[in-house]
């Protein structure tokens, strides 16, 4: 199937509309594939099917009112997005945050990152035609979701950040339950390795497929595990440390190959690093208030000083940035979100040509896209 160079001769090729209702485009992505047989000549992502104008909404709401919107940009790691908004506003307004809230945010965010990666592994393996890891991963993810639900009250679209802390404190029993979940995850990892990573079919489907070079990633602005799978050790948590991250020890797993397998491996290792962070954080969890006493809660109209400010965090998908422009009112003049999935999707036009339809699905799956986050 791979002996012929791709041609764009219209007599040799045809177009295939993959999506927006296709089982493995993960939401409402439409891929316009030009195929020669089963070989992809060009791949063009068509986006915008779940555009909800989040940026425009931000301009019409107070900072507190916009809080629930944030986790709806990326419903899989909503906690991280929620805290990013809170922290961006705190930084601009100069609101102090108690120690306990800072560490608790790290714990919750890292749990959310693990949940997101678990879901990704399941969905990715489903793309490769293996339905069983999906249910295994969801079982584990469910344990994390229960834990997060007990703290925040919601399963996916969290809004538990408050300017100056958290909406609710971690209860006294939380560390024990968190350690239980971690023990469960730890027990499962060898099983995943045997089921997925050591599987000869999986290795053949993943190794050497969809290679993204460092330069391609750089020129498209790819970040997150996809970038680290191409050998660039860029992680916002290390590059521009924020919150309580500087006080914890963890590594940035990278792999030089840049193929589907590298991206898989990086995410799996990242989950282990996240567990490492959570354990340190649980050990160091300070007492004290979870919300700065007398601070500005959600009820008061918060006004930010005039100015412009950029704040970035490492989401489960990569570099998530918030650009806030304030004119001193209760609502932002402009809020621009730099979401990681957008460039991660754009780079696929480079990775897909020359591969087969089955590879396209694998590559698409390996970049871990969340379409509402691309469209916003």
């Amino acid at each position: 199937m791979r002996t012929h160079p791709p041609t764009t001769d219209p007599l040799d090729t045809y177009t295939l509309n993959m999506g927006p209702q296709h089982p493995s485009t993960h939401g409402v992505l439409r891929l316009l594939l030009t195929l020669r047989g089963e070989e992809i000549v060009t791949a063009e992502p068509v986006i915008g099917y779940s555009h909800r104008a989040h940026e425009k909404m931000a301009e019409n709401r107070t900072y507190a009112q916009f809080l629930p919107n944030t986790s709806r940009q990326d419903y899989l790691s909503g906690m991280i997005y929620n805290f990013a908004w809170v922290e961006a506003v705190e930084k601009m307004a100069g609101i102090p945050v108690p120690e306990r809230a800072l560490v608790a945010r790290v714990i919750l965010a890292e749990f959310n990152r693990i949940a997101s990666h678990l879901l990704w592994i399941g969905a990715f393996l489903l793309d490769l035609g293996a339905p069983t890891p999906f249910l295994y991963c969801w079982d584990d993810r469910e344990a994390i979701l229960f834990l997060l639900e007990s703290v925040t009250g919601s399963r996916l679209t969290y809004a538990s950040g408050r300017f100056g802390g958290l909406a609710r404190d971690l209860d006294a029993d939380f560390p024990r339950r968190a350690r239980e979940v971690i023990a469960k995850l730890r027990a499962r990892w060898p099983e995943y390795d045997r089921l997925i990573e050591d599987n000869v079919i999986f290795r053949n489907r993943a190794i050497g497929v969809g290679v993204l070079t460092r330069d391609q990633c750089r020129s498209y602005g790819v970040t997150g595990p996809t970038l680290r799978g191409s050998g660039v050790p860029y992680d916002v948590r290390k590059a521009e440390p924020y919150g309580a991250y500087p006080r914890f020890e963890f590594d940035i797993p990278t792999r030089p190959e840049g193929d589907v397998f590298a991206r898989y491996w990086v995410r799996v290792q990242e989950m282990r690093q996240s567990v490492r962070i959570i354990e340190q954080a649980l050990d160091q969890l300070p007492g004290g208030p979870f919300l700065e006493p007398g601070s500005i809660g959600v009820k008061k109209r918060l006004k930010l000083p005039v100015g412009t400010q950029y704040y970035a965090v490492e989401s489960a998908r990569g570099h998530y940035g918030i650009l806030l422009v304030s004119e001193g009112g209760a609502e932002p003049y402009r809020a621009k979100f730099r979401t990681p999935s957008y460039p991660n999707l754009a780079v696929l036009t480079e990775a897909m040509p020359g591969t087969l339809v089955a590879d396209a699905v694998a590559i698409l799956g390996s970049t871990d896209l969340v379409m509402p986050e691309v469209d916003r």
């Binding site: 199937m1 012929h4 020359g354």
Partner: protein, 193 residues
């Protein structure tokens, strides 16, 4: 009419109807399906002649292999969405008349010939045929195998001659359980089976 006669009639009808479909319809895929039907009918005719092994081989080769190779060739060569050019009536009539004349002549020839009655009882065991193939007719048998091998190699060479020398390496996966990623001759190899 006895059972053999019934089967004979059915099989003959299948063969002829299939052949008509294979030639008359405009859609090439329908032609191939008609051809397969016709071969099934032909196999039925062989069955009534007591040549059951031959019937099985006919289906195996023509329906299982040749028809499918044709389907593949169609897929690789026919643009699917091009409307067929209208057929000229004169040409159709001419071809039909000419074919009819030839067939009629042949039929008259066959009718006129005197066929001797069978020399002995119908002995059509596959074992006997197989034995003959590797004893009396071993030369023909070997020639056929050589021909098939040559045809296969030839088919592979012809089908890959255009782009084969520009093998691509981008994105090819490393060895899978002892088998590297792509096999250039696969498509043609099937055709030659």
């Amino acid at each position: 009419m006895n059972a053999t006669g019934l089967v004979l009639g059915l099989a003959a009808a299948l063969a002829i109807v299939g052949a008509l479909l294979a030639v008359g319809l405009r859609n090439i895929l329908h032609n191939i399906l008609g051809f397969a039907l016709s071969q099934v009918g032909l196999a039925g005719l062989f069955l009534t002649l007591g040549s059951d092994f031959l019937a099985v081989v006919l289906i195996l080769v023509y329906v299982g292999a040749v028809a499918i190779a044709m389907v593949y060739a169609v897929m690789l060569s026919h643009p699917m969405d091009v409307a067929p050019v209208p057929r000229s009536r004169l040409k159709t009539a001419g071809a039909a008349v000419l074919a009819l004349v030839v067939a009629a002549a042949l039929w008259l020839l066959v009718r006129g010939a005197a066929f001797p009655p069978p020399s002995g009882p119908l002995e059509v065991l596959a074992g006997v045929t197989g034995h003959r193939l590797v004893s009396d007719y071993v030369l023909a048998f070997e020639l056929i195998s050589v021909l098939l091998v040559i045809a296969m190699i030839g088919a592979v060479m012809v089908a890959r001659s255009f782009h084969g020398h520009r093998a691509r390496t981008v994105g090819s996966a490393p060895a899978a359980a002892g088998a590297p990623a792509a096999d250039p001759g696969v498509g043609a190899g099937e055709a030659a089976r």
